[in-house]
Symmetry: C7
Subunit: 273 residues, 7 copies
């Protein structure tokens, strides 16, 4: 077998100018159960799939409140994600204590990305193995960012990460033009449809997904299980919409294959743009 | 033989985005003798199997008191477990000294998980080789957590870790719906039945198991050997129940095989959810 | 396969006196999407190609304001570039606070290069994987520098880095003699033509390029998308010029092949001169 | 030959969840000459085999006084053992200086175990290569602990470690039920019989064993050579008892083979219980 | 292929008593474009070849002013050279601040060499990849030193380093006896002839060489491009001299081959003398 | 060839529980020229063989004064030995300054052994490559210790280390019973006979051995060359004694071969006893 | 090819108890050009061969003044030698400042040796690659020491190190008996004859050797070139003596071959004596 000698140390460049350890860490994000985010001008909805360990356990939390105006959904190593969201909370507290105003979302996202970058340039560390969808609201409106292990971040209208996230992204790409002016109720519905796409036939239940909302006059809030279930029920009543979706998906299965082929790695955030 | 070049260093990612050293440390938990935990709304029972070194020795302690309201049962490297439970004790003392109230269980569990996470991101350390079932009582009631070497933690109604814990988990899954409102006496009985499942025909005796209880008006307490034996005796008198269990187990041996096949690794706490 | 034993550690010399890890890091610059810079006596224009992750995302920023009189465009690892531009911003603030005058561009460029050099001489670090085109204005006029991962820097009249930058450089070399006295409007046009060369048939749109200007009485400014589009439109109206260019390019496709062959690596900044 | 890639670094886990370097260090204990300990409710006797380097030398000390109420016998690397017993002495002095009461045995044993655990989790150290039988007396009576290189400790009624310790353990297991209420004279006799078992036909002499006693009203004391010889002489006069032992041993040679086969590694203190 | 196991670590000796990494670093000097120095009793001239990256760029600076009485020309990694010349500048400033007199050249050269030696004796560093020709004037007259990556330095009447420097050295060796009493104008001419030798047929232009002068009543000064060109023009008018040189070179091509063969490595500064 | 993967790092255990690097360091002691020590109740004599580098040099010192009451003879790396004896001198000075009494020999020997032990448990160090015979006098009489690289020490009546020391040990074992009450003159004679045994036919001269004495009313003193020669002369006059020795040696050559075979490694101080 | 796994790390012992990296460093001494030293009771002469880099350069200094009463000649890596002689100078200055008397030679030599020993026991350093002949005068007369990379030192009447030093040593051994009472003029002549022996037919000139003298009423002084030449001239006038030497050498070429064979490595200072 070909032995790659450039891919065991995070500070070693490959001859082609790649940092394999950073790319491998980004694989960890793809292995995690899916998380999605989408936003209007005024609201952000973060959602994720809960893979319960067993009937006996609650699922592990994957959506965290950072501050009243910021929340985060993760995919990948949950321990890394928890440590990073604690860091974010602490930055928010310090900022608002010092400046008596909330920390702007974009600023926090940059600090987070810088913290990740350091882990890609020290031989005794490893890149974080987690992707974070950071949703937030500040004076410039609602924002959705994706921070990835390479120390890069991207701003999105809507995005999905984690395992089988491609299906959710396809859904979001078909719909995103309407998001900007959508009500938060509509965003929640879209989030649920997108989550459903990642379940591959598994039934959507309040027990296997978490939904959170944040927006103008809405401090960050994880919806409780009953409310999620009632949303799911209402979606099923609106069956046709879902069917239409399915139809569209079928259609899509024929046509856009080439397009998908052309961008098979769209889900991975490359280190270079 | 295929040589895996990604699995000797805790800070090295594999091409598939895995941290093998962390996964190997989780194997150590599976090698340890079994520990189980279960809770009602008001009480937590922790139990473990004692594998005596020889007739000459007492068994090594595997259940530790952390504070009046928190206890822990471990499986895996007992030295690592002891060091971590000492850390927990010290955190509890510092908290109650500073705030004059007991440290909330969930908060301690997060600190413990964060301490474990650090060991997965420094090249000169190794992940802890121990799993901890943390039982505790605070204002929000009784809790049972499982902290694993990856730096993850999970909340459970009931759980079992260590060698042959699958049998105990099967028992607990069949019964857990009644636990929430069970008396602590019932919890103890269930714990003993679950422990028995892991013994594979070996006789349940007070010498090969330890039981501890914690709950409202019950500071953490390891039951003394005589009390455990009297519990065991009373179970045997209630033989039918046990037989029923066995019958159910037989039945189960036929039907849910597929289900078990579908989740063969349920005992391992994955790093990603 | 021949295994190179000198190319995995940044502090290891090859027998021929090369530092392979530094050269590999320079490959990362070539993989990034293109960035170009050009200047007159009084103005600098920085431009770059935006490769959008998906329809859902905004592109990642690759042109940064450092100060009113300094801006930077990057190619390669954007996380490394962001960290370095933050360093530059901080140096500018400190200097102007202490001396009450703007930091001279050349001085900042040397500090930046020294910071990069350190990363080529410590075994626990890695060279930065980013090239920076630094444009600035000070008492000695407008300047354009290229800082590369080796810790070297070069002053240019016009330069292009990143993927397919050779085509842009060919364009710039044909035109640069007129740049020194060009208006900033002309510089912008040249920048757009150069960018177009790197797109390989892809259509030039305001969505796939960013343009910034800086000059006498013009603090650093990234042009907004609409303005960029209007520039693009005006270029297309001036079609003949473009065609002339294309013709020249055709002609060039015949003749200067040898010349290109003689300098195939012109795009890479060698460590030694 | 199969090359084990997981067994050269103390911080590397094997795929089966083992720390080979810790297990190898425990081998060093088995290579050392034997040490045994046994206790009644009020007294502890520690004994060891002295393997003289040559006629010219005194044997190396393997039993150390820690405090009036604590002593230790070692098997394995004597240099490591000496360093650890010096640590214990220093802890005892500090405790009694601060609290004006003797350090409880169990507490010292935990500190010792924690010190050993640290050496199993730092890449630049190695596990200690010594096993320690710690005998002590405190308010809860006489205690005998075994501390092993893994950072584990066990409490025993009687135990033997080091080379050929299995024979001694077999003797002790046959007799231990009488130890709890034995006089310290009886304990010494049992110790000598157990030591004799490890000598494999070599004659028991005061020159090849050391005996120490500790108990209520008996500060820790290593018996002088003449006293040991007189004890040995008295044993030989009581020949029948010894013969009976031999007979029993013969008998045992037939029957409990299976049992021994079932627990061949009883002498090694596993890392997990 | 034979794998040399002694040449990847700067602190590893080969069996023959060589430090290969230091020797490899000296190769980097040979790869750099040429630099030459020569001196009379009162003046030093430093010159170098400029290899322009492209038409678009100015060449990278390779001659640096250290102080009014000291200048340096480098060959090899320019980033290393720049960092070292900054160090030299800072030493000069500190010295003259403290002692109110200029730092003697020889003293600075020793400090520089000691700084280089340290990099050959620490496992986490690498030797500098640059050779420095240090020209200076102090109370004992004009000096020319060569500092090489091994931490050695040599005093020269005239010297050349870098690629194709052998031809320049041959020229200098033929002429150096007249240098000591030459005027600085004559030194400049000799420098230009020597530079010409390294160009291998490429035309000598003011754009591909830099000349600096330093001497009694002449603070260090890099000649401006126009002045260099006028010197070049005057040389061409004095064609015969050049031809004579060429003739001599032809002659030399026949005779001194053996001599050259006997000292093929003269250009490399050995670590031992 | 079989490659031992456990013997290049001092902190790596072999599967059989050995530290090969420590054992290899003990080989260095065996390679050094011989040193011997012997003592009566009141005196210690240390002696060593001097292997002169050449006629031109004095031999390197191998016997050092530590204090008036302590001396040391070494075999192995003399540089390591010198550094350790300087440490011992400094400990003696500090002790006597603080307590106004001489440092007891046994205490110094333990400190020395602890210093050696540390070098066997840190990955960036190496075990000392020297054996030390420490002779000293304190309130409990004269003592002779052997400190070896493993961090172990042993007390001896008489001992020999270094190359061909087995012959000297055989001599000493035959005679040692008379040493305890011998005069220091007799000890010197025995020392010379023992040294002679290690010379293998080479003539005993004052130039190839050093003798030192220490005892009651005799501060440590290295005998001067003339005195040593007069001792040698007097031995030769007493030829018969020597012959008798030779005869005994012959006799021994027949009989105790088996015994020697049974203890071929007696000269090496094992790490475990 | 056999790969030696013990010879790349200075802290790794070979199975035979050798430190190969230290031995390899001693090879570097043998590669350096020769240095010799010799002394009478009152004077020391140090001399060395100068291998000029080229006609253009002065040779690199290899004899350094340490203080008025101490000088040093080196062979091997000159950069290492320079750094060590600077250390010696600084020790002398500190001592004389503190004690107002010159630092005794022997004491300085020990400090130097200890500094070298440290480099043989730290994994991140390398042994110095230089041998030093230290000549000095103190109250006990004139001394000549040789310090080698292993951390050992030896006192000599006369010695030669470096390439082809064996011939010089042969000369010195034939003559050394007369050195003790020789005048310093005679010592200089002997030094020149010894140097001549190492030149292998190359002519002895003032340009290829350096001579220094130090003695009672003679502070350390390097003879100037003219004085050295006049010494050489006077030697040639005394031709017969030289011829006699040659004759003796011829004779020697026949007879002492065996002797030389018996001590082929006399030039290397072994680590053990």
């Amino acid at each position: 077998m070909f032995k790659n000698q450039y891919d065991t140390d995070v500070t070693t460049w490959s001859p082609a100018g790649r940092l394999f350890q950073v790319e491998y860490a980004m694989e960890a994000v793809k292995q995690g159960s899916a998380a999605i985010g989408l936003r209007s001008k005024t609201h952000v909805v973060l959602a994720c799939v809960n893979k319960a360990q067993s009937e006996l356990s609650s699922h592990q939390r994957k959506i965290f409140k950072v501050d009243d105006h910021i929340g985060v959904a993760i995919a990948g190593l949950t321990a890394d994600g928890r440590v990073l969201s604690r860091y974010m909370r602490s930055e928010c507290i310090n900022y608002s204590f010092t400046y008596e105003s909330p920390l702007p979302v974009g600023r926090l996202v940059v600090q987070l990305a810088d913290k990740a970058q350091v882990c890609t340039q020290r031989s005794w560390k490893r890149p974080y193995g987690v992707g974070l969808l950071v949703g937030g609201l500040d004076e410039s409106g609602a924002h959705l960012y994706y921070n990835c292990p390479s120390g890069n971040y991207f701003e999105y209208q809507a995005f999905a990460i984690g395992s089988r996230s491609q299906a959710a992204k396809t859904y979001l790409e078909r719909k995103f033009e309407t998001f900007d002016s959508a009500s938060h109720e509509e965003l929640i519905k879209h989030a649920l449809f997108a989550i459903k796409e990642t379940l591959q036939g598994e039934k959507l239940k309040s027990s296997n997904c978490t939904i959170s909302v944040l927006g103008v006059d809405n401090p960050f809030q994880v919806l409780d299980s009953m409310m999620v279930q009632s949303w799911i029920n209402s979606l099923e009543e609106e069956g046709p919409a879902a069917e239409e979706t399915a139809a569209a998906a079928d259609q899509e299965a024929v046509q856009p294959a080439a397009e998908q082929g052309a961008a098979p790695d769209e889900g991975s955030a490359p280190m270079e743009e």
